[in-house]
């Protein structure tokens, strides 16, 4: 150990003490009437305001949620062990917020923004970002036009997601909802490496701690933690921490959005978060409504998801944005052009999308990706039901080459599914029907994709071009995967310039001709 001289120690202590106030202040206090189950009722605090942060004697913070005639209901943001009846509660005059800075990237934090990955405190300049904040108003927004590449062929081709969009991922348990979100985060590595990072935030609300650790490991192994923050409130954390976790994640996302950078946030999952909110609401004796959720559960989700936005590409206007936190406003770091894309996840029970929370969130978001367990079990993974999945932003969130190539894909697949059911009854089919069926089968194969292997958009364009134009008709269905792999490797080696032109959004005739010839050549070795 390096020796430390007594002088140094006393200098450090002096420095620490220099900001210490010896003057006592008039405080506004209340006393605890009742405590338990993560909530407390407090007598006094007559001037406390809704959403205000209050502090208990032992340093635990709480948020004021209920203002009643003769008491105040607060939710505890920590353990209730040291809090007794009669304990003093102080007003802080602040609203609940977390500290966010550049160095939060790569960390695992809890709802309060404290690191829980054992890597020490978060350094650098930190800004107070409030948990509850109003979404940007209409004049501070602009339409969603840039694509957010998920790296998943089925999504990027048929259900494109734009930066600033809210796209719901919905499905039963074990259908690969989290996998889609994780793949999307991993796919952003391409942009990070290129120096245009899309910062990712993965919010685990009510998940198992083991699942969170596993996600962190996968992201770490794929080099995705360099631009990702994980906010974790696992199932063992108090319910208030669980239902505030998405808000903490949104606060982190807003830091990137308001400093002019794109960010992606995954809320995994909002059904468990709603359950945590229901628990707290019932304990606070708010009247239960449908499925015992409180009346404001819709507002809980709508105000959260409204915070996903594409901010106007004009620094001067963006700097006047409503509800900018003071610390960020005064730092002069506010820029326009940032975005926050939200991927909320909802778990359905037995594919019942007409339950309360799924219908609410479907109506709030700009589209949904439906995952089905029967597709998953029949080997179609990702198990996306293309027929009922939509993206309301649509083609404006696709690059030109992808838009042209995938234009007919969704329709083709719809036709294929219709004919597929019909074809099971007879074998005498005309040539046109047969070709639709054969093409459909191969497209289904093309859209299959293993986990943790997102594909870049130029490769997607190339392979989907072959599929939609029927150039794979000589490749047997069970060999399509192998063909795809060989074809993409060959294309990358022989014609990298073609891929970069696809990436730039161009779809030139001679390039397409090159792709076609290469594909037909490789296909020959598979036919027979």
């Amino acid at each position: 150990m390096v020796g430390v001289s007594p002088e140094e120690i006393s200098a450090i202590i002096k420095e620490q003490l220099s900001g210490f106030k010896t003057e006592a202040e008039l405080e506004e206090v209340g006393s605890v009437l009742q405590v338990g189950d993560g909530i407390a009722r407090v007598y006094g605090l007559s001037k406390a305001r809704a959403g205000e942060l209050v502090e208990f004697e032992n340093g635990v913070n709480a948020i004021v949620l209920n203002l009643e005639e003769d008491n105040v209901g607060v939710v505890l943001m920590g353990p209730s062990d040291g809090i007794k009846e009669g304990s003093t509660v102080r007003r802080t005059g602040k609203i609940a917020s977390i500290q966010v800075g550049e160095e939060i990237v790569g960390r695992v934090v809890n709802t309060l923004g404290q690191p829980i990955d054992g890597k020490g405190a978060i350094g650098g300049d930190l800004y107070d970002m409030p948990l509850e904040r109003k979404a940007p108003g209409v004049i501070y927004r602009q339409p969603v036009t840039e694509p957010l590449q998920t790296g998943i062929k089925a999504i990027d081709a048929m259900i494109p997601i734009g930066r600033g969009q809210r796209e719901l991922i919905i499905g039963d348990r074990q259908t690969g909802k989290t996998a889609i979100a994780i793949d999307t985060i991993i796919n952003q590595k391409e942009f990070y490496d290129r120096g245009e990072p899309v910062f990712c935030i993965y919010v685990a609300s009510g998940q198992k701690s083991s699942t969170v650790a596993q996600v962190a490991k996968v992201l770490e192994d794929n080099g995705a933690m360099d631009y990702t923050v994980i906010v974790s409130a696992s199932a063992s954390d108090p319910a208030p921490l669980q239902f505030y976790a998405p808000f903490a994640g949104a606060a982190i996302g807003e830091y990137f959005r308001d400093t002019g950078r794109p960010a992606l946030i995954v809320y995994d999952d909002l059904s468990k978060q709603a359950v945590a909110y229901r628990e707290v609401s019932l304990l606070l004796k708010r009247p239960p409504g449908r499925e015992a959720y409180p009346g404001d559960v819709f507002y809980l989700h709508s105000r959260l998801l409204e915070r996903a936005a594409k901010v106007i590409d004009n620094d001067a206007i963006a700097q006047t944005m409503n509800d900018l936190p003071d610390s960020l406003k005064n730092s002069g770091k506010v820029r326009g052009g940032g975005s926050l894309t939200a991927l909320p996840i909802i778990e359905t029970q037995a594919a019942d999308v007409s339950a309360y929370i799924p219908t609410n969130v479907i109506s709030i978001t700009d589209g949904q990706i439906f995952l089905e367990s029967n597709l998953f079990n029949s080997g179609i993974r990702p198990a996306i039901n293309v027929g009922i999945s939509v993206s309301r932003v649509g083609g404006s969130a696709q690059i030109k080459s992808m838009k042209k190539v995938s234009g007919t894909l969704k329709l083709d697949q719809a036709q294929y599914r219709e004919l597929e059911a019909f074809s099971k009854f007879g074998s005498d089919l005309d040539a046109a029907t047969l070709s639709t069926l054969e093409k459909g089968k191969r497209n289904v194969e093309i859209l299959k994709q293993p986990q943790y292997s997102p594909l870049s958009v130029e490769n997607q364009v190339a392979i989907i071009y072959l599929g939609t134009n029927g150039y794979l008709k000589d490749v047997p269905v069970n060999k399509v995967k192998a063909f795809e792999e060989e074809f993409l490797t060959a294309l990358g080696q022989k014609h990298p310039e073609v891929l970069s032109s696809f990436k730039a959004g161009k779809l030139e005739k001679e390039n397409l001709e090159l792709v076609k010839t290469l594909a037909l050549n490789i296909a020959k070795s598979y036919s027979a």
Binding site: G19, A24, L26, V29, G30, Y43, G59, E69, D70
Partner: protein
């Protein structure tokens, strides 16, 4: 209904009625008398017992207090027992005294100190309190001793707290270092 709300309503009606009938000071004296009697746990336990019927409670009340209260407080206590709210009687008494002080413009202030304050110090604190804009022009001081404060004092008025105790300062120092 919550205890707090019941106490507030009963206390307010007694206050209003005693003001109307010009019996306010008598009522206050009676309530204070009742509060002093209830310092013994026995009476509270008797009133709070759910097993004893309310006519029995009323009989005991009349036997114990019959004729001792001069003001309408007597009738008020009987009403409270008849309505089965005798279990919140201590809270009603506290709330009544609180509302009385509010009505009269008296600030109830508790000063907690680590050791007994000298008369001189008490007078000084009182003078400073009257100077400040936080209190009414009349103040009702109560003194408490709590050795856990180590030194200094705490002033409590309603839901405001002025904490100048050594224990609080040490706690703040601990927080400063733990950050």
């Amino acid at each position: 209904m919550s205890v707090g709300r019941i106490a507030t309503r009963y206390a307010k009606s007694l206050l209003d009625l005693s003001i109307d009938q010009n019996q306010l000071e008598d009522a206050v004296a009676d309530i204070q008398g009742m509060k002093a009697t209830m310092a013994s746990k026995e009476l509270i336990n008797f009133f709070k017992s759910p097993v004893i019927k309310s006519d029995k409670k009323l009989a005991v009340y009349n036997a114990a207090f019959g004729g001792k209260f001069k003001s309408i407080a007597d009738k008020f206590f009987q009403l409270v027992i008849k309505k089965g709210r005798e279990d919140v009687l201590p809270e009603i008494c506290d709330e009544f005294l609180h509302q009385y002080k509010e009505h009269k413009g008296i600030s109830a202030i508790t000063i907690v100190s680590a050791s007994k304050m000298s008369a001189e110090a008490e007078a000084k604190v009182k003078a400073r309190l009257l100077e400040s804009n936080e209190t009414y022009s009349n103040i009702d001081l109560e003194f408490e001793i709590d050795e856990s404060l180590i030194g200094g004092f705490k002033i409590k008025m309603g839901d405001k707290l002025y904490d100048a105790s050594v224990a609080h300062k040490l706690e703040q120092l601990r927080k400063e270092f733990s950050n």
